[in-house]
């Protein structure tokens, strides 16, 4: 089983959710994160002094899958790419075990 972590533009989230749904990924977890990266951060002004907020509001998705890793990556890249700096990153790592709390099932069946 693999964990696919994707840090994307928040504004792309709804679209990505749709795309993932279409390819059969209906379960995942996401949260608000802040990114420090290439993209210029949001410019704000307060009482005459310009400053940047120092971060970009982003959404991080965590998707655990037992197969179709490449398809998921492709789906994310296709949906979230704008070509401008700051489109985000995808990280893949290994998951050793998975448990469904409701049933206690383990491993791949717990994912379905």
């Amino acid at each position: 089983m693999k964990k696919i972590e994707a840090v994307i533009r928040t504004s792309k989230f709804l679209e990505l959710k749709e795309s993932l749904n279409k390819m059969g990924i209906q379960f995942f977890t996401y949260s608000d994160v802040k990114g420090v990266g290439h993209q210029a951060t949001e410019k704000a002004v307060y009482r005459g002094v310009q400053y940047d907020l120092g971060y970009i509001a982003r959404t991080k998705l965590e998707i655990i899958v037992s197969e179709k890793v490449e398809e998921v990556i492709k789906c994310i890249v296709d949906t979230c790419k704008t070509g401008e700096l700051g489109d985000g990153k995808i990280f893949v790592s290994n998951i050793e075990e998975c448990v469904r709390i409701r049933t206690g099932e383990r491993g791949v069946p717990a994912l379905q």
């Binding site: 704000a44 002004v45 307060y46 009482r47 005459g48 002094v49």
Partner: protein, 466 residues
């Protein structure tokens, strides 16, 4: 009262009968002086009633300025210090009202014995409420003793509350309360006595006209402003505000709160300036309301234009400060200005506020809410306008705009500065050296809400855990 009149009428009727017998004149067309006198007395009483209603409303409006200050100040500060700011602004009017009932009013209005002096005191406590089971109404033709007390107490709280915004986010709550006690209990009533309590500013000396400050650009706002400045200097800037010579903006946590505050302050100013007429005189009160609102509106426009041209932004916090600047700027001469003069005063004040905020930031005077820019700078400006604009022939006690009036205004401004700033500075320094003025760095970073009150201001959407 109506029954009293009817009784009188009956008495009068008997008299008129008597007259009938001694004269051929058809006396039923005549009327007794008694009746007219009764009517006359009733008219006096209604006149007092009307004026008193207005003054009570103005008192309520000035009261709500405390909520205005609480909202603006907490909106423009960070959420980790919100409970603390609300606490300060809640306890300030409480302290003010109590002190004014115990001695403040009698220190500010010591009576004719101390006319033209620099200090006077008429003793502790308010007068007994009842004279032979009835209130003494002879106090004033415009309002009762009690209305006066409450109106004055609300004013005092306002002066004190100006300080709270400037020293926000780092002052110890107990030290703040000590200073509030001193400014309301000593500093403000003394300056107030100079100008409004019959003190020396009414007879500055020589051929100079008396100092004119209609509703307190100097006597209220600059007093608060000078004290705020002293506090800010003794305290020093907030951690993280000036780093490596750079100004780091620390944005306020809630623009809705700040906006609510400014609207409430504008509303409150209807009472602050409108009540300073000290009667419901329709001509003066309505003129004052018009000039006040025109200057506030022009303050918004002035700040908008200045911020746009000079800072290239449409910064809401600047518009809000511009409105307050316009309000403070018109306060000294709200009963003297024409509409166009009011607009001019607003435009200048609103514009100056923007520069002042930027200026204070440049010289590292860290005032989170711009209290010094609004109340001190525009307070001085507004007091000077009385020497430059406005027809003094109307209502006011001033001589009319002109060089000698301007000199008087400058003397008043300087005198207040020379008293309030050093005294506040010394008081803040003493507090700092004894009980301590500033929270520890750790507490400041953690936020005063947890550190001083053990209480967060917001728990939004955290509640599913409980």
């Amino acid at each position: 009262m109506t029954t009293a009149v009817l009784d009188t009428v009956e008495a009068a009727a008997t008299i008129i009968d008597t007259i009938k017998t001694v004269s051929a004149i058809p006396v039923d067309t005549l009327v007794s002086a008694t009746l007219v006198n009764a009517t006359q007395a009733q008219v006096e009483s209604i006149s007092l009633t009307s004026s008193n209603i207005w003054m009570m409303i103005c008192t309520a409006l000035v009261f709500i300025m405390n909520l205005g200050f609480a909202s603006v100040e907490s909106g423009l500060a960070r959420s980790k210090n919100t409970t603390n700011i609300l606490f300060k602004n809640t306890i300030t009017p409480a302290i003010g009202i109590i002190i004014f009932s115990l001695w403040g009013l009698n220190l500010m209005y010591p009576g004719a014995n101390y006319a033209e002096k620099i200090y006077g005191f008429a003793g502790f406590g308010l007068e007994e409420p009842l004279i032979d089971g009835k209130l003494d109404l002879s106090y004033n033709s415009g309002y009762t003793y009690w209305t006066n007390f409450l109106f004055q107490a609300m004013f005092a709280a306002t002066a004190a509350t100006i300080v709270s915004g400037a020293v926000a986010e780092r002052i110890k709550i107990t030290s703040y309360m000590i200073f509030t006690f001193i400014i309301i209990g000593v500093i403000y009533p003394i300056v107030g006595m100079w100008g409004w309590g019959g003190g020396w500013l009414n007879v500055i000396g020589g051929d100079l006209p008396s100092f004119y400050d209609f509703a307190g650009s100097t006597i209220v706002h600059s007093v608060g402003g000078w004290a705020a400045l002293a506090g800010v200097i003794v305290l020093g800037p907030r951690i993280g505000k000036y780093v490596d010579g750079k100004i780091i903006p620390i944005p306020g946590h809630s623009m809705p709160l700040a906006t609510i505050g400014v609207f409430l302050l504008w509303l409150g100013w209807f009472g602050f300036n409108g009540g300073s007429v000290l009667s419901a005189d329709p001509a003066r009160t309505s003129l004052v309301l018009a000039t006040t609102s025109l200057s506030a509106a022009a303050g918004a426009i002035g700040a908008l234009i200045t911020a746009y041209v000079y800072l290239k932004t449409l910064d809401l916090s600047m518009i809000l400060n511009g409105i307050l600047g316009g309000l403070v700027g018109i306060t000294a001469g709200a009963d003297l200005m024409s509409p166009n003069e009011s607009i001019l005063i607003g435009l200048i004040s609103g514009s100056v506020v923007v520069f002042a905020v930027v200026f204070f930031d440049k010289i590292k005077v860290d005032d989170p809410v711009g209290a010094t820019s609004v109340h001190l700078v525009c307070g001085i400006l507004g007091t000077l306008f009385v020497g430059i604009l406005g027809d003094k022939g109307f209502g006011g006690s001033a001589e009319g705009a002109g060089f000698s009036q301007l000199i008087t205004q400058l003397i008043g401004i300087t005198a207040v500065a020379a008293f309030v700033f050093p005294v506040s500075y010394i008081v803040f320094t003493i507090i700092s050296k004894t009980v301590g003025l500033r929270v520890s760095a750790k507490e400041e970073i953690e936020g005063l809400d947890i550190a001083e009150h053990g209480m967060k201001a917001y728990n939004i959407d955290m509640d599913k855990e409980y």
